[in-house]
């Protein structure tokens, strides 16, 4: 039987699912309910000198009828006194000794201030510390959060101060609002960090209310840039995770963050080397209960793949990410349309003509292939067709049940197809358009090709 139990930078975890430092971990009552729901750990909402928040605080991007594909917030760190947070951490640890509580910390950039908060958090019983060098709004204007994370020297210095005092593992949370996240990761490593977490939220303006012309979220007629998160940011997070884990000067145990909402997302972050994952937006959207399927689904996948532990598959995809110059130029695939599965929407056709290489055609019922007819010509013919409502018993027509008519099934010109994938990406039917390998030349990379003296490229 596979297990989700794991060890992150020396911290024993019941499972790799932690709640990220955010509203879902604002207080002890919440964290205890989250643990009851199945979360293995929680990174407490960042503790520091209490702040005053504005209202409103969140805004989101809906996409194609789905709510909250991306979420943005301008909420600051905890608005509760440090002592209250620490007292509740102590209570949670007393009641849930096997669950992980990480104290997220942010104080002004002074050695004494950091020494004091580290000591107090550890005295309260925190299993580890996460340094919030990533928060992109509000606190950064006060010289904290991403204002630290964006300057490698500051990040290194503060990490160093924290490590002077810390007895528990120190996790540095990195901001993505930087050109190359490895610079910040290397700085944290130089400062002595035990682990990293990435990514924090991304600077964003989610959108503008087209009635009031005020961006969201609206605070008395004004807005401010906020931190973007949710499913929309996952690809950005995965890339940054890969960059860190592929860089020997950066690599440390890494807690993956960014758009994780399902076991699939978690598996992908772990395959790129993360030791565990942190979740926020999905829990804000659907509540703590989502962790049940995250655990169940990941275990089921591990069973199918024969993985016993998280370590068995951690980082397995890292070797598969390489620089472009190492890709095989002679690898050749072409699109194939399964006529039996095609429903005749012709999205592949219009996508190929307008967005790719004009190699999908609607000529299956013509006497000879015709690759010259444009989409406009085809539509012009349809618009002049005379159609009438069928009458039962009088006309044959009616709902089509005999499958897609041949003239609606597109044909790929395999000689012209460049294997770009676009048609298979827009196709709404699973496994209808597949990309088939047709190359017959030995592999050759760009690096190899340009190394040869007679190179052409």
């Amino acid at each position: 039987m596979p297990t989700l139990e794991c060890n992150f930078s020396g911290i024993k975890c019941l499972n790799p699912f932690w709640l990220a430092s955010a509203p879902p971990t604002n207080c002890g009552e919440q964290v205890m309910r989250a643990f009851d729901a199945g979360w293995g750990g929680a990174v407490w909402k960042t503790i520091g000198e209490p702040i005053t928040n504005v209202s409103s605080r969140y805004s989101s991007i809906d996409w194609a009828g789905q709510r909250m594909m991306g979420l943005n917030n301008i909420e600051l760190i905890s608005d509760r006194p440090i002592a209250t947070n620490l007292r509740e951490i102590a209570e949670v640890k007393r009641r849930y000794p096997k669950h992980v509580v990480i104290a997220s910390l942010m104080v002004e950039s002074k050695r004494e201030a950091w020494h004091e908060i580290v000591a107090r958090a550890e005295d309260a019983g925190a299993d580890g510390l996460e340094l919030n060098f990533g928060c992109p709004h509000g606190m950064s204007e006060r010289g904290m959060g991403s204002a630290v994370g964006q300057v490698p020297e500051y990040a290194e210095q503060i990490t160093y101060w924290v490590k002077e005092r810390a007895r528990t593992p120190v996790i540095v949370k990195l901001t993505p609002n930087i050109t190359d996240i490895r610079m910040a990761a290397r700085a944290a490593k130089r400062g002595g960090a035990d682990a990293l977490s990435a990514i924090n939220t991304i600077n964003s303006i989610t959108g503008i209310d087209l009635d009031t012309l005020v961006p969201n979220p609206n605070v008395d007629g004004l807005s401010s840039h906020g931190g973007y998160c949710g499913p929309a940011v996952k690809p950005i997070a995965l890339n940054m995770v890969q960059q860190i884990n592929a860089d020997p000067a950066s690599v440390l145990p890494l807690s993956g963050i960014g758009g994780i909402g399902s076991w699939r997302d978690a598996a992908e972050f772990i395959l790129l080397g993360c030791g565990n994952v942190q979740v926020c937006t999905a829990a804000m959207h659907y509540g703590y209960r989502i962790v049940e399927d995250m655990a169940d689904g990941l275990l089921e996948w591990m069973r199918q793949k024969g993985f016993e532990t998280i370590e068995d598959f951690r980082g397995l995809s890292l070797p598969n990410v390489r620089e472009w110059k190492h890709l095989n130029l002679n690898y050749k695939i072409v699109a194939r349309i399964d006529a039996a599965k095609c429903i005749g929407c012709q999205l592949c056709y219009t996508a190929c003509w307008d967005g790719a290489h004009q190699c999908i055609h609607l000529d299956r019922t013509l006497p000879t292939p015709d690759t010259t007819r444009t989409p406009a010509q085809i539509q012009a013919v349809s618009s002049t067709r005379i159609t009438t409502t069928p009458i039962p018993k009088l006309d044959d027509a009616g709902p089509q049940t005999a499958g897609t008519p041949l003239d609606r099934i597109p044909r790929v010109d395999e000689h012209e197809c460049v294997g770009c994938n676009l048609c298979s990406l827009v196709c709404p039917v699973e496994e209808c358009i597949t990309m088939e390998r047709i190359d017959n030349m030995p592999p050759q990379t760009w690096e190899e090709r340009t190394a040869s003296p007679t190179a052409t490229h």
């Binding site: 095609c342 999205l347 056709y349 349809s382 618009s383 409502t389 089509q400």
Partner: protein
């Protein structure tokens, strides 16, 4: 300026009748419409568009609903079909756009095109927006249109876009023909039909009601107009030709439907027999149930596999509790003062029996007109012969469309016919021809 002519100012269908005929397909809320619109795949050269006789660009109008451009969505619909609201309610979409939806091929529910179209059209009406086109400068040409049904309305509106003067003549006091008087109230309320037609006079279309065109008037119209469009529909419902047909209590489906929609008929006698099994017969049978009939029996000389009603109409009739007598035909109508019973014969074994009834509704198809127009244009089995692409009849100055040419199809077919005829007339008179669809969208 005088108040514009509003057909919908006429007394509407009585509230009690409306309550008995609530929408068969209720309106979508925005909360429901937007996810449904997002479900549309946005097919290229979409089969739903091709399946629509008026070629409404369905993916385009649905995409606009999804984007929040509901006004643009309504304009897209109206560009193709000026009765887009009526059609969204009355069209048998199961055999048209929704029947052609590609999602059928992957075992999914088709997009609810009709309800989305109604969503856009209702929003257009609520906003009090006009039809999305302005008449072209006057060309000096004049066309008379006989009959104020969907074919003539569509033809007249399209003629105005070409700057051609259009005057519509109708024997009834209100426009719309069967669109107003002949469609079950739970599909298309009379008030909705009139409200939609209210927009057409704003294009400069003239109306002459309570006017039956006789031979002399037709000669006059010929003299004073450049072309004539015949949108005269079909004639009265066929008689059975059996004894007792003149007894009080014998009526026909169209009179019943027009009667309850206009408020002249408020209730139904308890026992009703409907002769016939077409779509109109089913409308009349269901109307009887909704008006309080206790037992409604449909009588058809053949079996359920031979009926001319759409399958979904038959299913609806069964759900309403209509009883069917198959392989049965009327032999005589019995009664002294009024209808008391129907003498029936089973076509399978020629046995006969009596069905006690209080009223008999005939719905065995409409006859064709045989009057002044028959001398002017060629007909075949009573239908006016036209060139399908232009609506032109055998008489070059006469054009036609709708039920009088196709024997009785749908509102949407009449609209398509009328629009094509207008393009044919414009080509004849002005030598210009607009594209029927995918027209310019400048507005």
């Amino acid at each position: 300026m005088s108040k514009p002519l509003l057909f919908s100012d006429h007394p509407p269908t009585p509230a009690e009748t409306r309550a008995r005929f609530p929408d068969l397909h209720p309106a979508l809320t925005p909360q429901a419409a937007i996810p449904e619109a997002n479900r549309c795949l946005f097919c290229f050269d979409a089969p739903c568009t091709t399946a629509c006789p008026t070629h409404i660009d369905v993916p385009r109008f649905i995409h606009k609903i999804a984007s929040g451009n509901v006004a643009g969505s309504a304009r897209t619909i109206l560009e193709a079909n000026i009765l887009g609201g009526s059609c969204s309610r009355a069209c048998p979409v199961e055999v048209l756009c929704e029947g052609a939806c590609v999602l059928h091929h992957s075992g999914q529910q088709p997009i609810e095109i009709a309800r989305l179209q109604r969503f856009a059209m209702d929003a257009h009406q609520s906003a009090g927006a006009p039809l999305p086109f302005t008449p072209a400068p006057a060309s000096g040409h004049k066309v008379a249109l006989i009959g104020a049904g969907p074919a003539s309305l569509a033809c007249a509106a399209e003629l105005r876009r070409h700057g051609i003067a259009a005057t519509i003549y109708d024997a009834r006091p209100r426009p719309g023909g069967l669109n107003t008087y002949g469609i079950a109230e739970y599909k298309l309320p009379l008030a909705e039909s009139l409200r939609e037609i209210d927009l057409i006079p704003r294009l400069g279309v003239e109306f002459r009601f309570n006017t039956t065109i006789d031979a002399a008037q037709l000669e006059e119209l010929e003299r004073t107009h450049d072309a004539i469009f015949l949108g005269i529909g079909l004639g009265a419902i066929h008689a059975l030709g059996i004894a007792g047909e003149q007894l009080p209590g014998v009526t026909n489906a169209l009179d019943l439907i027009a009667g309850y929609k206009s408020g002249a008929v408020l209730t139904s006698p308890p026992r009703v027999a409907v002769i016939g099994a077409g779509n109109t017969a089913i409308d009349a049978a269901i109307a009887s149930i909704r008006l309080g009939a206790e037992e409604v029996t449909m009588i058809y000389r053949r079996g359920p596999g031979q009926i001319s009603a759409f399958a979904f109409e038959y299913e609806h009739a069964k759900r309403e509790g209509i009883r069917f007598l198959w392989h049965t035909q009327p032999a005589a109508i019995l009664g002294t003062e009024r209808v008391e019973a129907l003498a029936l014969i089973r076509t399978t074994d020629d046995s006969s029996f009596h069905l006690p009834v209080d009223t008999i509704i005939l719905a065995i198809g409409q006859s064709t007109h045989s009057h002044v127009f028959a001398d002017k244009v060629s007909t075949e089995r009573g239908r006016i012969l036209i060139d399908r692409a232009t609506g032109q009849t055998s008489n070059p100055r006469y054009f036609s469309g709708g039920d009088c040419t196709n024997g009785g199809r749908e509102v949407v077919d009449a609209v398509a016919d009328g629009k094509r005829a207008a393009l044919g007339i414009a080509a004849l008179l002005t030598g210009t021809r607009r594209e029927a669809n995918h027209a310019d969208i400048r507005m």
